[in-house]
């Protein structure tokens, strides 16, 4: 019987590039920037890495297909590099690969990498992408904001809430992330905004205004993982271990079956339950100290608070407006600014989230440091609300003797 991943793998070191419109940087530059930090943090030689997983989503944008780009950029000693892609959960998928390799005993030390170079084509926004030979014939020509905006009207209708109330909570979500990003030196958008600014912003896709949408950014993030025993032998005392890695892809229900109400993310609920079980969490609101969720759009973060079990059904609007997820709230969310302000280089985002949890758990978060957190959650939603891949990971502090 499977025993789960809890505490079998520790993070030896992590790195994250500065996110943003990195006109100055090539994909190689971003990878080297993140790796230099991680390898120094790990305190090992590069050649100790025995296998690597590279997460890239938009290969159209120049990072290229296959595992080669990572092997070439880091001049790895011909160790296996596997390229993975699972929509916006790509970075978390790379982490899964590396963590499972270590847990399986196939490698002592493995590298998980996520990188995306979105700003090299002169095209604003995420690239248009074919949905395949059949789906293009019938699926709407949607954009990410338009696809996620669907949650807004359906959520409001489902809970009988005026859109104005939902919009105010959405504005609070974005305002909070901007406040947090001010103290997040590597974040893409580090300016403050007001609630009124968010509410008055031009409409992108009803009900989402400009400030309800995350940034399109370049960036890279990575993790070097090993067993707790090896980490200890390398001199690590307090370390961050993996408590749970859950993944749940849609199987068609949301897009094709009447049971989905349009106002929640079904796969998140499934992945969250699996992750809580694997990590041994019975009450996430009390046990989890911080979270980095997939706030590609403010409405996504809003419904996720319910899907992840932090707010009761229909209560997210009130909890958000009460400040429950602010940096000084009960369960701080997006302490680094989130996708909204730290930025969203798709393949790197899952690992960027893990980086923030790791940084906070080790007490290295500087001005935005929370008071001694011990358990953090990351969540990705790849795809669109009615067809997606959800990933929920839990990382925890494992105190040394």
């Amino acid at each position: 019987m499977a025993t789960g991943i809890k505490d079998k793998v520790a993070i030896l070191g992590m790195g994250c590039s500065r996110f943003g419109e990195r006109w100055d940087a090539s994909p190689d530059d971003l990878m080297v920037e993140a790796f230099a930090e991680a390898i120094a943090d790990a305190g090992i030689e590069r050649d100790r890495i025995e296998a690597a997983w590279l997460g890239v989503f938009y290969q159209e944008q120049g990072v290229a297909r296959s595992g080669l780009p990572l092997s070439l950029a880091l001049r790895l000693p011909n160790v296996p590099v596997t390229r993975v892609e699972n929509l916006c959960a790509t970075g978390s998928e790379a982490l899964r690969g590396a963590v499972y390799a270590v847990a399986a005993g196939a490698a002592d030390i493995a590298l998980a990498f996520g990188v995306e170079k979105l700003k090299d084509t002169g095209f604003a926004g995420l690239p248009e992408r074919t949905k395949g030979t059949f789906d293009d014939l019938w699926q709407p020509g949607f954009t990410p904001p338009g696809a996620f905006a669907q949650l807004g009207a359906a959520y409001a209708a489902r809970h009988g809430l005026p859109m104005a109330d939902v919009k105010r909570a959405m504005a609070h979500v974005s305002w909070k992330s901007h406040e947090n990003a001010v103290h997040s030196p590597k974040a893409h958008l580090r300016n403050r905004i007001t609630i009124d600014q968010a509410l008055a912003a031009p409409m992108v896709a009803y009900p989402l205004g400009l400030y309800d949408c995350c940034g399109v950014s370049d960036g890279a993030a990575c993790a070097i993982v090993t067993t707790p025993a090896i980490a200890a032998s390398l001199g690590k005392r307090d370390m961050v271990t993996v408590k749970a890695l859950a993944l749940a892809p849609s199987n068609g229900v949301e897009m094709g079956h009447a049971s989905w109400d349009g106002g929640h993310t079904l796969t998140t609920r499934i992945a969250a339950q699996r992750a809580y079980k694997e990590a041994g969490i019975s009450d996430p609101s009390r046990e989890i100290n911080l979270m980095e969720v997939h706030d590609c759009f403010s409405i996504t973060e809003l419904v996720l608070m319910e899907d992840l079990g932090f707010s009761a059904h229909g209560r997210a609007v009130h909890d958000i407006l009460d400040g429950r997820y602010d940096r000084d709230g009960a369960v701080p969310c997006q302490t680094d600014g989130g996708l909204k302000c730290f930025g969203h280089p798709v393949g790197a985002s899952g690992l960027r989230m893990a980086y923030e949890i790791y940084t906070q758990l080790l007490g290295r978060a500087g001005e935005r440091q929370l008071a001694s957190p011990s358990l953090g959650l990351t969540h990705n939603l790849g795809g669109i609300p009615n067809r997606n891949v959800a990933s929920v990971s839990v990382l925890g502090l494992h105190r040394g003797q």
Partner: protein, 480 residues
Amino acid sequence: MNAFGILQFGAYLPRLRLERSAIAEATGWAAGLRGGKAKGARSYCAWDEDSLTMAVEAARDCLSGRDRGEVAALTFASTTHPFADRNNAGVVADALDLRPALRTLDSAGHQRAGVSAMLDAVRTARSGAGTTLVVAAESRAAKPASEQESRFGHGAAAVLIGTGPDLAAEWIGDATLRADFVDHFRTAEAETDYAYEERWVRDEGYLALMPQTIKAALGAIESAVVKHLVVQGPQRFATAVAKASGIAATAVIDDLHAECGDTGVAHPLLLLGAALERAQAGDIVVVASFGQGCDAIVLRATGRKASQGRGCAGAVASGVPNREYLRFLSNSGVVAIDWGMRAERDNRTAQPAAWRRHRDVTAFVGGRCRKCDTVQYPLARACVNPACREFDTQVPEPLAEKAGRIKTFTEDWLAVTRSPPHVYGNVELEGGGNVFIEFTDTRPGESSVGLPVRFVFRVKDYDVLRGFHRYFWKAVPVRN
């Protein structure tokens, strides 16, 4: 002897109606004396409509409440078929999910293409070869500031021709006169017409050719008993033809210039619909078509309603006047708006996949699970019902005529569309099923969760690199 004739009638006019005063306002500086007649409005295609999509909508209206299995042949008449070498009638037949053993023919090349097809259809019926659906649609382009720009309209009409106890109009007679009279022409290479002096067209064309053809069609019937006369052409020509034919001026059916304009090949069929809507049982109706000669048809109304759907009156009433001359030019392809980098997406159609799933897409046929009765789109190998998930249990389930309600939606100002915002969302189907689909003909602010919608056949994507475009169904709000 069996009676033959018109079983049913259907019509479609685009919702968009451009007020002619807006054309005059925009082009008056250039049009000079030609800019005079600025009354009423003309119909024009939405960005995702063409002759073919209008033909499908008119045909659906024509087939309202009928068993589509009775249709043995389909003729699609137009001078603006979207494809020069692809069976346009075949696409219409596919959209209507008609039987595979269906004779499909495109009738084209002149303004009589619609009425001539009706003459053939009645001969087909008499020969025992079954019922023909004749659908005519037209979306002619015109040069800015031209007389045609203001006079033309876009639209479609359909008639079902056959035999049976439920005829709406009995076919009494017809006559044809061919004459290579060039009142206007459009070469195969040209986008727009070249037209000659109206007075010559009236005197040597309409008045010289039409009355004799009408007389031949009437045979023993006195022209004075004709109660309704349709003449394909401007109202003043129709009035002159009536007078020359000995038909009362009050019989002349209004040319709908004020409501939609001249819809070309579709127009005599559309006006026939108007005539049948007002005809009493026993009324004699004459339809005279003009284009390199004349076709004339004599019908006797039976008293049965020709239209079981929106009909001509409903099509006319569906219009919403607007003054967006630049939108009209954009939709007509005269002006190329910059739709931005997102519009550069390659919309190449993967024909092997499109052919494999053509019934799913063109006819909008999904699946119904035989085990759990769940309706789903698209049909898949395994049932989507989470409580079922059985393999290979689904049978085809037509969805196009189902009603639906909006479950989720957005109005997306970022996505590519030639009519922002791009509106799309999830629609819950009556009787089960959920489909993620584009909306069309929807104003910003009009959509809401729970709003009833129906489906219409439209252009899904343009492939500007290859000149191809593909069709699919879209949701529109149900309007009374």
